[in-house]
């Protein structure tokens, strides 16, 4: 007798979670996600020679030994370039299918599997942008997409006015909100564990890191302004998910939405990480599904009542997504007393499932506040020496910075301690080799290259980078495409682990 009210409450909760949402905003999200994944794959094509190729900066054989868990992937050492290109093109085709709404779930699945494979193959340089793409594709597997605004609509075979009145089961949309909730709470609250964030200096430091687009534009004179920005971030970020609880059309919800939009727009403009931030801007389409649905229905006109589509989630998907959200919550408990023990097994489970995520964003700034600048002097034999810009050797991007992190006493990915030496040598050798191969005309037949760096940490003791110290990073001679290292001395027959 007593269980009845409880059951009915649980049922009420389930019904509430599954109450219908307008189908059109969900598909607008799908179109945006598809477009973002298309652009992401184009970036993977452009980055192919640097990272995915076996002649790039990453020694994949070494990395597979260091990050042994990244071995299960569709890429394998020695696989021909056309095979790797073929995989990337297949992933790109999947993104096109998602964007066009033609078998979008199949497209998302294909694109997701290949993205996960790329991430495992290039594990050393993976960052939030990559895991955000995985996350978007993962959610596209579950969300009720492909019912509106597909290629049929745009070719006139389906009427958007009719589609605007369609509704679908809202369970997965709300489950996605739970994911956003975990994301913002983790990203927001963990910043409070960082001394630089608490001191109000973190934003200044982040904006001056080599990975930021605006590096060099900020001086200690801007600290007061950025102090406000710093604290605004720590206040706003954990508050964002709470707008999900506000009723449709609530003014605070609109205000929150506008702040959310500009917050995530400002990050790619000033720092980078565009895919993660664009993905979160896209999430606003789902956050405002009610408002957008009403607007579209009004635009479509007619006295038609919303019509619920008979879409049914495949068996087990709801349970799977609930299990995923619980595991994700546990995986975010790093450094949390008691629960700290579970984060690694939970993260390993997510990794096995191809949805490993890390929401500790920039709370690592106290450890990764390193900056590095290079002077590259080329001395071709018999000619005057000349300088080339640092970007010619190390790509100016987040990945480029991550590559350089392995040259410093910071490890982007956890390389077991003594193997940092092998990792450093590998990066140095391949950067030099690639530089010589891609600058044949500039370098001439024979000569020497000296790379001197200025390295340092930006913190309250050195805000303007005045205390950077010089480092003789490398010196090598080249003849044709052959490179001979003079400094550091790298064993010729350096063995892979």
């Amino acid at each position: 007798m007593e269980t009845e009210p409880q059951n009915s409450k649980l049922q009420q909760l389930k019904d509430r979670f599954s109450s219908p949402v307008a189908a059109a905003p969900v598909d607008l999200f799908r179109i945006g996600a598809g477009l973002l994944v298309i652009v992401y794959y184009i970036r993977l094509f452009l980055e192919f020679p640097l990272y995915t190729s076996e002649n790039g900066i990453l020694d994949h054989e070494l990395h597979r030994e260091i990050f042994w868990f990244s071995k299960l992937t569709l890429f394998y050492p020695g696989s021909p370039a056309f095979y790797k290109w073929g995989l990337l093109l297949t992933g790109f085709a999947g993104a096109l299918m998602l964007f066009a709404g033609w078998r979008p779930k199949l497209g998302a699945a294909v694109s997701w599997i290949i993205a996960v494979s790329v991430h495992r193959w290039n594990f050393a340089v993976i960052n939030l942008d990559d895991s955000s793409i995985t996350l978007l594709l993962w959610w596209c597997l579950f969300l009720p997409i492909g019912n509106t605004f597909t290629y049929k609509t745009f070719t006139g075979r389906s009427d958007w006015r009719r589609e605007a009145h369609l509704t679908v089961d809202g369970f997965f949309v709300r489950a996605y909100f739970c994911n956003l909730f975990i994301y913002y709470l983790t990203a927001g609250l963990t910043k409070l564990t960082s001394a630089l964030w608490r001191e109000g200096l973190a934003l200044y430091v982040v904006l001056n890191l080599p990975l930021a687009r605006t590096k060099g534009l900020w001086s200690p004179d801007h600290i007061t302004m950025l102090w406000f920005g710093n604290h605004l971030t720590t206040i706003l970020e954990p508050l964002f998910p709470f707008i999900l609880f506000l009723p449709k059309g609530h003014p605070v919800k609109y205000l929150g939405g506008i702040t959310w939009f500009f917050f995530h727009l400002a990050i790619p403009i000033t720092i980078g990480v565009p895919y993660a931030n664009c993905g979160l801007i896209l999430a606003l389409l789902l956050v405002f599904h009610g408002e957008i649905g009403d607007h579209l229905r009004k635009r479509a006109g007619g006295a038609e009542q919303p019509r619920r589509l008979n879409w049914k989630a495949p068996r087990g998907t709801r349970s799977l997504i609930v299990a995923y959200l619980l595991t994700l919550t546990l995986a975010m408990q790093k450094n949390v007393p008691v629960l700290d023990a579970v984060w690694e097994p939970a993260m390993a489970t997510l990794y096995l499932g191809g949805v490993a995520q890390e929401y500790h964003l920039f709370d690592w700034i106290d450890r990764f506040n390193w900056t590095i600048e290079h002077d590259i002097e080329v001395s071709p034999d018999g000619k005057e020496p000349f300088m080339v810009t640092s970007d010619e050797m190390f790509e100016k991007s987040v990945r480029g910075f991550i590559v350089q992190s392995y040259l410093l006493p910071m490890r982007w990915m956890r390389v077991p301690r003594p193997l940092t030496g092998e990792m450093r040598n590998g990066i140095l050798k391949r950067s030099a080799q690639r530089f010589v191969e891609t600058h044949r005309e500039l370098l001439g037949d024979e000569g020497a290259v000296v790379v001197t760096s200025r390295v340092g940490r930006l913190d309250h003791d050195d805000l303007s980078g005045e205390q950077l110290w010089p480092v003789n990073l490398m010196k090598f001679r080249y003849r044709g495409e052959n490179v001979e290292f003079l400094h550091p001395h790298i064993p010729e027959n350096e063995a892979h682990p």
Binding site: F69, P418, W469, H489, I490, E494
Partner: protein
Amino acid sequence: MRDRWVTVYLVLVVIQIPLYFVLGKYPLSFDFATKDAETVLRRPIINEADRERARTSLDEAESLLKASGDRSSRDARIEMDRGILAWKEGDSEQAIERLEKAREMFMEKHGADSFHAAALDLRVGELLYLKRRYGEAISRFRRSSEPVREYLGPRDQFSVRMIFREVSALVALGRNGEAAELAHENLALLLKVAGEQDDAFLQMTGGSLNILSLQGLIRKPPGGAKSWKSALTEAKKEARDLEDHQI
């Protein structure tokens, strides 16, 4: 078919587990064994049971490495840990011998300019200093301080610690002029990293600085402290208080 997607997905997830078990057997077990040993070795004082535990873990790590055919610098890490264990057991000669061997192994694997080799050289220098073999210690400090400072930075606590070990060694040999010159440039850094240093180091360093200060070769202790020993103890206390306050 669509109702079987979840089953197919879960099967794909589950079949990875034995593969990961095979792939991770050696590297993971090695990491667990060495971490276990290093947790024990990090304690300031260890008893016989701890020593036995560390020894067993290092033996296990070594046999795992042999079984896997690993040719990386992991073997140097084991040798280094064995050196630390020997030091904790009071066998300083064996400790120096093992650390020296680990240094050579790092040089072989990473090259002559290996940071790990240079850092170990400084550690050996520190042990030689503690054994009062000051001349040998100084030559190691001179040889390896620069590459370590270049890699970790002049503000890093390890770099600063080694500078002041050299200062103390120079003072012990009566080369106070050289010691003062070296100390003078780095006193501010020493006060900053005092919170990360052990008391024994601060006391020894404070003693050397007192000698230099009394001879007027370096400035007097800051903040009106009676001696450099108390100035360093106070700096450590302040750093700890700040840390507690931040937590």
